[in-house]
């Protein structure tokens, strides 16, 4: 069966803003993957596809300002569904952080994990409705 292997958010300089792993990797391997993804994705321009073969998998990515949002999936998986999965996620972040910028992800890194878990779990899509996700996030926000 197919599932998301990892989700990475990196900036153009290669700094990781989120790394969510759905497969067991040791720390060295994670670092290697992060560097490879950065190398593969940043050389591509707007005329290129949003998909790139990566080891035995493929990366579906989209760039938002200085940030690359990358999802690593099986080669047989549905490219466009994940491409829009990224966009859906970004729209939720944007709403939640009110015009999200890179710094929001840095200072609120622990909240970004919550957003991810609401939308993706165990490498699968958990919830796609922005309304439902945001409602839940606001409910959590109100708890202390």
């Amino acid at each position: 069966t197919v599932w998301i292997r990892f989700i990475l958010i990196q900036n153009r300089a290669g700094k990781t803003r989120l790394a969510k792993w759905y497969m067991q990797f040791d720390d060295d391997e994670k670092q290697k993957l992060i560097e490879e993804v950065h190398a593969v994705v940043t050389v591509r321009d707007a005329k290129h596809t949003n998909f790139v073969e990566f080891r035995n998998f493929k990366i579906i990515y989209r760039r938002y300002a200085g940030l690359y949002f990358c999802i690593c999936v099986d080669v047989t998986d549905n490219n466009l569904a994940y491409l829009e999965g990224i966009h859906n996620f970004v729209e939720v972040l944007n709403e939640y952080f009110h015009n999200v910028c890179e710094l929001d992800l840095v200072f609120n890194f622990y909240k970004v994990y919550t957003v991810v878990d609401e939308m993706f779990l165990a490498g699968e899509i958990r919830e796609t409705s922005q309304t439902k996700v945001l409602k839940q996030l606001l409910m959590l926000q109100s708890l202390e």
Binding site: T1, T76, N79, E84, F109, Q130
Partner: protein, 986 residues
């Protein structure tokens, strides 16, 4: 909607993060971090109990430091403490820390599991979700053991909140993937399947991932999901663009759920129920229709979401491969995308069309797009798009368009990206051969190939052109003329020299009539390239020269001069020196007749599958190779029948796996002259009988494949055994019937799964040693019966039998042994084994003899196991995974999870896996701890491709180390048997 502000709630954290960001150097950052670590450590160690807020803040800081890439070796206990807080934010940080930094400290795991248990039973949906997310993120076996029973209950309980159900479904999926043996769905199956009907679309979205995974493993148990999925899909597809409210994305109703439903259906064949099938076809038609409707929004999100569904629908249509109308419509739709301004769509259309090209229903429709695809090959900016275009051209090629496609590929090669040249070369070579109507076109094409991309022309390609020229006399003259012309170029590729040397050596006489290509001109041309060539090419040229001496006696003096020169006859390379010495001698002492016999034209090569095709399959996996050798069955075979395709490809690539005999032209291992028959070989030996030792090795190496066999080393154990001791010899049955196999015979058998030689059995009287060797589906086993006593065995008799159905699966033949075995002596027995089809049981070996009057009657299992007939198959990672996926039917897989009985020493593991007979593939599994192997089991009836994956959890404590072993093959019995055998080895 209130937006969150920077680091709200934890000012200290925000300050710390700012400090780190302000550090000007790595050193400054490390200094700041160390200061913070010291601070946190002192807080944690301090006398004053920390309040929940402080604990949360410090744990969060530790997490931040860890995420920056620094090791964290404390704080775990504080994090675990946070789990039992009643405050959400504290609990959340605790769980996050655990999820990111989990380690297998068993003490902590117990505490964590305790906290999770409390939260799961708290009936607080927020806490339940946190706990479920933690399990889903960690997914360890301990957690599976603790919660795999509880989570299905939560998932299907009537009073569970929707959000908890979503988390529970995916949590369960994670546990199932990690520890399938612990997740027992039995009683829950039907209620889980019915989650497809849940009112809450989010629940359906989450549950369908679980159902898809479970269906792919147990299709029969879950088959009721098909009709439910079809009706759910139908409701979504027919809804208006705003009906689904929260689940409408840019005017597209539930795009992700639609895709998942369509993917679930790809686990099954087309529905048998006419009504369900009708409804599904209607859905697919509606999806195709919608693609033609004007877009409801100009946003790319709208078209992407719509097309995500469309491509998934097309995948399903291709998966069914039974609805010509839908296939052709799909093809037309993709044809429109080929010219779309979105690169993504062009790429996906090319990719998808590639699979359509192999369906007999849509092959012609795909062909109509040839010009667009050629254009894509020439003009696309993204190399991955050009790669897809090349794949598609290859897939759509047939007799009608081969010349055009080959010409386009050749001209593309001149500027092609380095990354795809080798593959392009293989494709051109295959198409040129397959669709060659006149062979001069074929020869031209291959020589062009060498000219344009010589570096990328592998051995297989030039071997193949030579095979074909040798086998077809109508093209030999043309080939000689063409290579002669090609060699005129001042700089020509070494591969061209090889082909030229070989062909002129064989057929130079066909063009020797023309004074412009007289024998001496030919020789000088070849020899002018000699000094720039590598050793193997020079060796080949030397053979061409000796052939020239035979073809053209007038060149003899010139060539002998060359052979006699110090640079040849004293060459530091032993192969070159040997050839020079032998050829010189041969040319001087052999009579013309002998010379003509020895250097006769090469006999035709036996027809076989193109080794190039095998190589491409190896490179690309069978899915990408859509040209079969038989025109008649070139289509239809490739689609759908994934397992069959996988098999054939593994078998084919196996043909090109290096083996001593795989050197196609015999250039390396045997004498390079035409001596392909043993008689020619021995003739050579005669000729050289007085030529000194260096010559003898030119004889054909006729090592039988078992010639290296020796008797097993004598055992260390004392051999002297008084007759009185015979009572203690294990089971001696008085009956003359063969005894039942010894209780330990399975264990003895298992010792030989990964090795071929050793001592099979030993008691005080007798030792039985084994040497065995296998090739293809044949095996030969030598049994050595050693009499350990000083007294002779009489009436010594052994029989080998195949009980039950094994009789029709294995053909075992042996000769009887001498009935007397002297004391201290050893007798040998040869057993020939032919594997007719796959088998499970082992043949029985019964040994009967009398020792001091008492009848000894021993039965053992002969260690002939199915894995002995493995041929290793090397393949690249991409191929491995492609084949792995093709063998995804549940019955094709066998899996076992078992405790390690020995240590997990890497080298030992590797040796065992190699001993199994498969190829151990490096750099394939993304996790370097894992092992993957591939091989083909050769039986007379069929070849069964087999893939293997062994996943150790080496980090676990000794005593808790486990393996998961997964076997996939096209035959369920084979997967199971190999899995069973191998599981006993670790």
């Amino acid at each position: 909607m209130p937006a969150v502000s920077k680091g709200d709630g934890m000012r200290g954290l925000a300050v710390f993060i700012s400090d780190i960001r302000n550090c000007k150097s790595k050193e400054a950052e490390i200094k700041r971090i160390n200061k913070e670590l010291a601070n946190i450590r002192s807080k944690f160690k301090g006398d004053k109990a920390l309040d929940g807020y402080s604990k949360k803040k410090y744990v969060c800081k530790l997490l931040f430091i860890f995420l920056l890439g620094h090791d964290i070796d404390f704080g775990h206990m504080e994090a675990v403490n946070l789990l039992s807080s009643n405050k959400y934010t504290e609990k959340q940080i605790g769980y996050l820390f655990i999820s990111v930094l989990v380690n297998s400290n068993s003490e902590l795991i117990r505490l964590i599991n305790n906290a999770i248990k409390n939260d799961l039973s708290s009936r607080n949906p927020t806490f339940m979700c946190l706990a479920l997310h933690c399990i889903a993120n960690v997914g360890s076996r301990e957690m599976a053991e603790a919660f795999a029973g509880e989570i299905p209950r939560i998932l299907v309980a009537g009073d569970t909140m929707d959000s908890v159900k979503q988390s529970a479904a995916l949590c369960l999926l994670r546990l199932y993937k990690a520890s399938p043996d612990l997740v027992l769905m039995g009683e829950w199956t039907s209620r889980v399947v019915h989650l497809l009907n849940d009112q809450h679309m989010g629940v359906v979205t989450a549950a369908i991932s679980l159902i898809t995974c479970l269906s792919s493993k147990n299709p029969d148990e879950f088959k009721t999901c098909v009709s439910l999925a079809v009706s759910r899909l139908s409701r979504i597809v027919s809804s208006a663009s705003t009906d689904l409210q929260d689940y409408t994305y840019y005017f597209v109703p539930a795009p992700w759920l639609s895709c998942k439903l369509l993917r679930l259906l790809q686990c099954y064949p087309p529905p048998e129920d006419g009504a369900v099938k009708g409804r599904l076809v209607e859905c697919l038609e509606t999806i195709l229709n919608k693609a033609q409707e004007p877009p409801k929004s100009k946003k790319v999100q709208h078209s992407n979401a719509k097309n995500a569904i469309l491509f998934e629908a097309i995948s399903l249509i291709i998966h069914y491969d039974s609805e010509p109308n839908l296939l052709v419509r799909a093809c037309n739709q993709l044809g429109q995308f080929l010219q779309h301004r979105e690169t993504n769509l062009r790429y996906l259309a090319l990719e998808s069309m590639c699979t359509l090209a192999s369906s007999e229903f849509s092959h012609e429709a795909v062909k109509t797009h040839i010009e667009t695809v050629i254009n894509a090959l020439k003009t696309e900016r993204d190399v991955s798009v050009r790669q897809r275009a090349a794949d598609l051209l290859y897939a759509m090629c047939d007799r009608s368009n081969a010349k055009q496609i080959v010409a386009e590929m050749l001209s593309y090669l001149e500027t092609a990206d380095y990354s795809i040249r080798e593959e392009m070369v293989l494709k051109v070579a295959i198409l040129a051969e397959k669709y060659a109507v006149d062979y001069s076109w074929y020869v031209d094409t291959i020589l062009n190939l060498i000219r344009i991309a010589g570096d990328y022309v592998s051995e297989e390609v030039w071997y193949r052109v030579i095979q074909i020229v040798i086998n077809r006399d109508d093209v030999q003259g043309y080939a000689a003329k063409t290579v002669f012309e090609a060699l005129q170029a001042p700089a020509c590729h070494e591969n061209m020299v090889k082909v030229g040397g070989y062909i002129l050596g064989e057929f130079g006489n066909l063009i020797a009539g023309d004074p412009r290509s007289s024998p001496l001109v030919q020789f000088n041309l070849l020899h002018s390239k000699f000094h720039l060539c590598s050793v193997p090419t020079r060796a080949l040229l030397l053979s061409a020269y000796i052939k020239f001496i035979n073809l053209f006696p007038e060149t003899k003096a010139t060539i002998q001069e060359v052979l006699r020169s110090d640079s040849q006859i004293r060459n530091s390379d032993v192969e070159l020196q040997q050839r020079a010495v032998e050829y010189l001698k041969l040319s001087s002492i052999a009579s013309t007749d002998v010379l003509a016999t020895v250097l006769e034209e090469m006999p035709p090569f036996p027809e076989r599958e193109s080794s190039i095709l095998a190589k491409l399959k190896k490179k690309k996996g069978p899915g990408a190779v859509t040209v079969e050798l038989e025109d008649g069955k070139e289509r239809g075979e490739l689609n759908g029948g994934g397992d069959r395709g996988g098999d054939a490809a593994i078998a084919a690539s196996n043909a090109s796996t290096p083996s001593p005999s795989a050197d196609l032209l015999g250039l390396r291992s045997t004498a390079p002259v035409s001596g392909t028959t043993p008689s020619a070989g021995s003739l050579l030996v005669d000729v050289f009988s007085e030529a000194g030792p260096s010559a003898t090795s030119a004889g054909v190496n006729d090592d039988g494949f078992l010639s290296a066999l020796h008797a097993p080393e004598a055992s260390d154990s004392p051999l002297v055994e008084g007759p009185g001791d015979s009572d203690s010899a294990p089971p001696t049955v008085a009956s003359e019937d063969p005894a039942p196999p010894l209780p330990e015979s399975d264990e003895l058998l298992n010792k030989f799964v990964c090795k071929n030689n050793g001592v099979l059995f030993e008691n005080q009287l007798l030792q039985i040693g084994i040497k065995s060797e296998y090739r293809q589906n044949l095996g030969r086993m030598y049994l050595f019966y050693g009499n350990k006593t000083s007294v002779q065995f009489v009436s010594f008799n052994t029989t080998v039998s195949c009980p039950g159905e094994l009789q029709s699966q294995l053909n075992v033949q042996t000769k009887t042994v001498e009935p007397l075995v002297e004391g201290g002596a050893q007798v040998q027995q040869v057993i020939n084994i032919e594997c007719l089809t796959d088998f499970i049981d082992a043949p029985l070996l019964n040994i009967k003899f009398r020792y001091g009057g008492a009848l000894q009657n021993i039965s053992l299992k002969l260690p002939v196991t199915i894995n002995k007939f493995f041929q290793p198959t090397e393949m690249a990672a991409a191929d491995f995974f492609q084949r792995w996926k093709q063998l995804s039917q549940p019955q094709q897989e066998a899996q076992k999870i078992f405790k390690a009985s020995h240590g997990m020493d890497t080298e030992v593991l590797k040796a065992k896996l190699l001993g199994l007979g498969t190829a151990l593939l490096e750099n394939v599994d993304p996790n370097p701890e894992n092992y993957v192997c591939a091989g083909v089991i050769q039986t007379k009836a069929q070849q069964v491709g087999c893939l293997l994956r062994l996943e150790p959890n080496a980090q676990a404590q000794p005593g808790e180390q486990m393996y998961r072993l997964t076997l996939r093959s096209s035959k369920d019995t084979v997967s199971q048997r190999v899995c069973d055998l191998l599981a006993e080895q670790f």
